[in-house]
């Protein structure tokens, strides 16, 4: 048996002390150990993007990141996007306004990916948005409205 490891994770600006097996992914640490279930488990093998979070400001897949790899890094999840008073992030608001989801399961990952996509400067055209959002699958097929939402939010954030 591997030894349990104590670690501190910074999630959405708050420090959390955890004792975990090293094989626990960041996704399972968030959902099962911290109760932050906004980040979704889709494929759990790096193919769907539902678990997208930011680590030190960059979008990554929480299902292929071990929790211990995030030690000393700043993790942001969908729960950390809105302001303290509940005001939605412009990307969240755009997803609501543009009806950019149906079942909603992929949505937290879509939104986290979109925030990074805009910040990276990869939302300049619909074609560019589609390419740089390609790592987030939507089985309901809400893609046209997702592209609209990203386009709209990109204009507002700029």
């Amino acid at each position: 048996m591997a030894t349990l490891r104590s670690m501190e994770l910074e999630i959405n600006g708050r420090q959390h002390a955890l004792t975990l097996e090293p094989r626990v992914t960041l996704l399972d640490a968030l959902r099962e150990h911290l109760g932050l279930t906004g980040t979704k488990k889709g494929c759990d093998q790096g193919q769907c993007g539902a678990c997208t979070v930011h680590v030190d400001g960059e979008r990554v897949l929480a299902c292929l990141t071990l929790a211990v790899q995030a030690e000393g890094r700043k993790v942001t999840t969908i729960e950390g996007l809105a302001q303290a008073d509940g005001a939605l992030h412009p990307v969240q608001a755009a997803f609501v306004e543009e009806d950019a989801f149906q079942c909603g399961y992929c949505t937290p990952g879509q939104i986290m990916s979109a925030v990074a996509c805009i910040r990276e400067g990869h939302a300049g055209s619909d074609e560019e948005i589609r390419e740089y959002m390609a790592g987030n699958l939507c089985r309901c097929g809400a893609y046209p409205n997702i592209v609209s939402a990203v386009r709209k939010a990109a204009k507002e954030v700029a």
Binding site: R23, G46, L64, Q69, A134
Partner: protein, 327 residues
């Protein structure tokens, strides 16, 4: 997933020492290793996290070479101005690979070490026979669904495709893999499966990639990576080609050309016959289309992957025409 220990190396020496524990594996971005551990294909007893070793994530450019640190991420390398301008095939191969999230995680050294996407290899619960996973157990892919399997470099033991893009560009550009022990030409780095498909590179235990060196030349500056796949984005190559081309002073006689193929073979595949047929020739569209067929000399189809033999020469021709300024 195997229950494994975890340690973080602060230096290359420490990483190599820790990696000598039985069943230890090096962890960088984790996009392959964590995935394959979940599939129960990789069964490490200990992970040695090398991702925080200082100084290995830099990209440096001098008059002769680019030196790309093994821990530089795919997304970081792809957008470096020095790489885009002097090695467009590298930048393109990175941006056409995986997704933005995976490119933020995956490192250049780890990218070279990615394993095949063969569905039989990745599914130990469904298929017990896999010589790559379990030497001597057979090959479930032979006689199976062959659509994605290799038409070049395969053996009776394994027909799994090398899935990467970057290594194809590096093969065309004659990169050198630097490890803690030695320098290895990229053409010698990957090995065909033969009777030992479990061995995919010449790396030895205790050896770790530290840097990739890519020589600068007019050929590297006039290079491209063309990838054809079944989805528009976020998909492995059905066939791909990396081509670098340098003209003589007349601007139309081919002084030198390098061609490498992806998605076709058990390793990144250099198409030397195409190169030899074009070196010294005046660039000509029909000649390029004819000669590109040499790229699949010796190819063997397993049924459903026969399309690759028809597709690959067209991909090669399009890539050559692009760097040749014809299309």
């Amino acid at each position: 997933m195997n229950d494994f220990g975890y340690s973080r190396a602060a230096s290359i020496d420490e990483a190599v020492a820790l990696a000598r524990q039985p069943g230890a594996m090096l962890l960088a971005g984790g996009t392959t290793l964590v995935d394959l551990s979940k599939c129960d294909v990789a069964r490490p007893n200990a992970l040695v996290d090398i991702s925080r070793i200082p100084g290995l994530d830099e990209v440096r450019l001098d008059e002769d070479n680019a030196a790309i640190g093994a821990l530089a991420t795919m997304s970081h390398v792809a957008v470096q101005a020095g790489i885009r301008e002097n090695f467009p095939a590298i930048s393109e191969s990175l941006l056409l690979a995986a997704s933005a999230q995976l490119r933020n995680m995956a490192t250049i050294g780890g990218n070279l070490m990615q394993r095949t996407r063969c569905v039989y290899f990745r599914d130990p619960a469904g298929y017990s026979a896999c010589n790559k996973r379990d030497p001597g157990s057979g090959c479930a892919a032979l006689g199976g669904i062959a659509h994605d399997h290799a038409v070049l470099g395969a053996s009776d033991a394994c027909i799994a495709v090398y899935p990467g893009d970057l290594a194809v560009a590096l093969t065309a550009l004659e990169a050198v893999v630097r490890t803690n022990l030695r320098e290895i030409q990229i053409r010698d780095f990957f090995v065909e499966p033969g009777d030992t498909p479990q061995r995919e590179t010449v790396l030895e235990p205790g050896e770790m990639i530290t840097e990739i060196i890519v020589p600068r030349s007019p050929l590297s500056a006039n290079s491209t990576y063309l990838k054809v796949r079944e989805r528009k984005s976020y998909e492995f190559a059905s066939a791909s080609a990396a081509v670098g081309l340098a003209f003589e002073a007349d601007g139309r006689t081919i002084r030198d050309i390098h061609v490498a193929l992806g998605g076709l073979a058990t390793k990144p595949w250099r198409a030397l016959a195409v190169e030899e047929a074009l070196r010294g020739k005046i660039i000509d569209e029909q000649a390029i289309r004819d000669v590109s067929r040499l790229a699949v000399e010796g190819a063997v189809a397993q049924g459903a992957n026969a399309y690759k033999i028809e597709l690959a020469p067209r991909v090669v021709a399009r890539a050559i025409l692009k760097v040749g300024g014809i299309q």
